[in-house]
Symmetry: C2
Subunit: 390 residues, 2 copies
């Protein structure tokens, strides 16, 4: 038979990035295209240790249905860490465990957006979030990202022009794809505009723990006094991406509605690994392991930057992240699609900037470089290959 | 701030059933209310054995991002089992791993239904599916279930009356909540009507492996010659509910669209437990373990039925399932809500039939009884308590 897809999804295409994974089978290609954590960042032995404990003493809980909100002990542990580490979350907030950070974004979109409603986001922005918003047939409006965060004047213009805006979606810390951190002033300005135009902010912070230089900037949620910020994050870049554990923290009424919608989406998140994460925190804490990852990414980022300085020099501009996984490289006047194409011909994979444009098929003079997954040798050789096409 | 929820979700309430879990803390209450598998059905030692192997040799795969379609080896194993065990799935089909069977239903609804589109289902039907359809603001139309499946004449009338029908949703084998198995004749008739009115069938078969009496009836999908049946199921009732692994098998074009939508929903399903399920099948196979579960549920079902025969007799009608987890008890003229209320006052928890009515707040003279989770002693005592209120 011929299929009629819903209006929401009929124009959706597979994510260019995840499709790249499939074509990376050529062993001679060096990949700067991933969004993956380093395999060295997985604390396998400690995870095995706590998994053994669960098998031995709590298997019947781990293997049975759990509650949609998430494993209670883990929720408390995350709440505590958010408060102590990021001054984030109040007594008016609640927290739900999600199947990765991605599900948190998807559920927020579903709970808040009717088809045609506007979501304002940074341009460029995280493709997984853009596609989640697209999958509810929302109107995506991109506002240009500058070196210190979104252009505030343009944000206000976008809010004025789109009175049906429901969400401002931002990744203020070590942004994906641009590696940029939004300044405190701009965070306050974004919050002020959200108040003025009565919209919610969805603050996505999957990389916030991965600062390897500079000083923490307060989360937007920590500045919020009237409960208009939903904060989501995950363990994907800290413990394991494959286990799919994220969370959303926000005003109780909102989180309660997210619980209802998650219940019909996947009932609850993998119970065993919620317990693994919880026991890991109880037994080992997160700080020591996160310090290790920070050191790892600091070294890799510094290496890629120094190679770019040596090999690329003023043939391109690139961001100098203080954390996270990505460097954003721009050749003014060039076409990112063309750069990415020539790069893969030269056996180095990058992601074209246009993938991250809220307008599908929109122009970008940039490419995204990932430094968390390649080895040091691959970083050196890959930057050399990249430099030769610039 | 005050929140405006999307039209899709604004009237959604937490599932009555999952809410019951939370209130089952009274140790004196005997619960026939669960939809859970028996804790005895989890093959913990074998799962631990294969988990150990993954930790030892494949941790970097298990902890990293995977592909949205699912762990390739597991997909092949499930395809093989569906063909060999149920004659289900053809070369024109594809299979995606989902985060439990629930996500399969949710994604099918999202991919196929616009707001206001009609989904026809059995009355009563699985509350998780009903709520998933509700969460996309579809129009749910229930068709009465008889002892051998849905009323075919009423199904055709519903199709005629609702030309915007996109999906017929059925659980033909050991139906939840009614424990009924649709006859082969009615399966053929449902498929014929789906052809005649050009709609898709979503065949939900989470209990199909749990037959403990009688003979298998062919799946609707195995009768389908023009690719209009999506088939979903899960490992929740076979290996573990908490691990959240299900699947959807259907025409390639449809499954490819489901992949795109799952990508933005949760990227992929927990990778470690996909590998656990896969290694379990490779090393131990499923048949021996499933035979054990069948024996367990056969005994529990027979015990509950014989106690009902003794204690309740002709004060009520009840189904005699040949598999699955549930017995459906009806007191003609009574109110299921009232029965459930009096039952819990008498320290036995059941689920009111009205929860399963596609019309929210709709009437039902029935209650659902689960026999997979209570102990034998609890079954005997619980039926006694139940009989005393009838």
């Amino acid at each position: 038979m011929e299929f009629m897809f819903s209006n929401k999804v009929k124009d959706m295409k597979p994510s260019a990035i995840r499709e790249i994974f499939k074509s990376l089978s050529d062993p001679n290609v060096i990949s700067f295209a991933a969004g993956n954590p380093s395999p060295l960042s997985f604390p396998v032995e400690k995870m095995k240790d706590v998994a053994d404990e669960i098998f031995a003493t709590q298997a019947s809980v781990a293997f049975q249905y759990g509650i949609t909100e998430g494993y209670p002990r883990l929720r408390e542990q995350i709440k505590t860490r958010l408060r102590e580490r990021f001054n984030t979350g109040t007594d008016d907030d609640e927290l739900i465990i999600t199947t990765g950070g991605q599900q948190g974004i998807d559920l927020c979109a579903k709970v808040l957006c009717n088809e045609g409603d506007t979501v304002i986001c940074e341009n460029p922005s995280f493709i997984g979030a853009l596609n989640a918003f697209r999958s509810y047939n929302t109107n995506l409006v991109g506002v240009d990202l500058e070196d210190d965060g979104i252009n505030i004047e343009a944000l206000e213009n976008a809010l004025k022009a789109n009175p049906n805006t429901k969400i401002i979606y931002v990744i203020p810390t070590f942004q994906n794809p641009a590696g940029i951190t939004t300044s405190l002033e701009k965070r306050k300005a974004i919050l002020d505009l959200a108040k003025k135009y009565n919209v919610l902010i969805l603050e996505d912070n999957p990389y916030g723990e991965l600062r390897f230089a500079g000083e923490d900037v307060p989360t937007i949620k920590s500045l919020d006094t009237d409960g208009r910020v939903l904060y989501c994050s995950s363990f994907s870049k800290i413990l394991s991406a494959g286990m799919r554990i994220g969370f959303v923290c926000g005003p109780k009424e909102l989180v309660q509605k997210i619980v209802v919608v998650k219940q019909v989406n996947d009932v609850h998140t993998n119970q065993f690994f919620q317990m693994v994460a919880s026991k890991f925190i109880d037994k080992y804490g997160l700080d020591e392991h996160i310090d290790f990852i920070r050191g790892l990414y600091r070294d890799k980022c510094n290496l890629m930057l120094s190679e770019l300085d040596k090999q690329v020099g003023d043939k391109a501009r690139y961001t100098r992240p203080e954390g996270g996984l990505f460097i954003w490289l721009t050749v003014d006047g060039a076409n990112g699609d063309e750069l990415a194409k020539r790069a893969i011909e030269n056996k180095v994979a990058v992601v074209t900037g246009s993938s991250f444009n809220p307008i599908q098929g929109g122009y970008s003079p940039s490419i995204r470089l990932n430094y968390s997954t390649p080895s040091d040798e691959q970083i050196i050789e890959g930057v050399k290959r990249l430099a030769s096409i610039l």
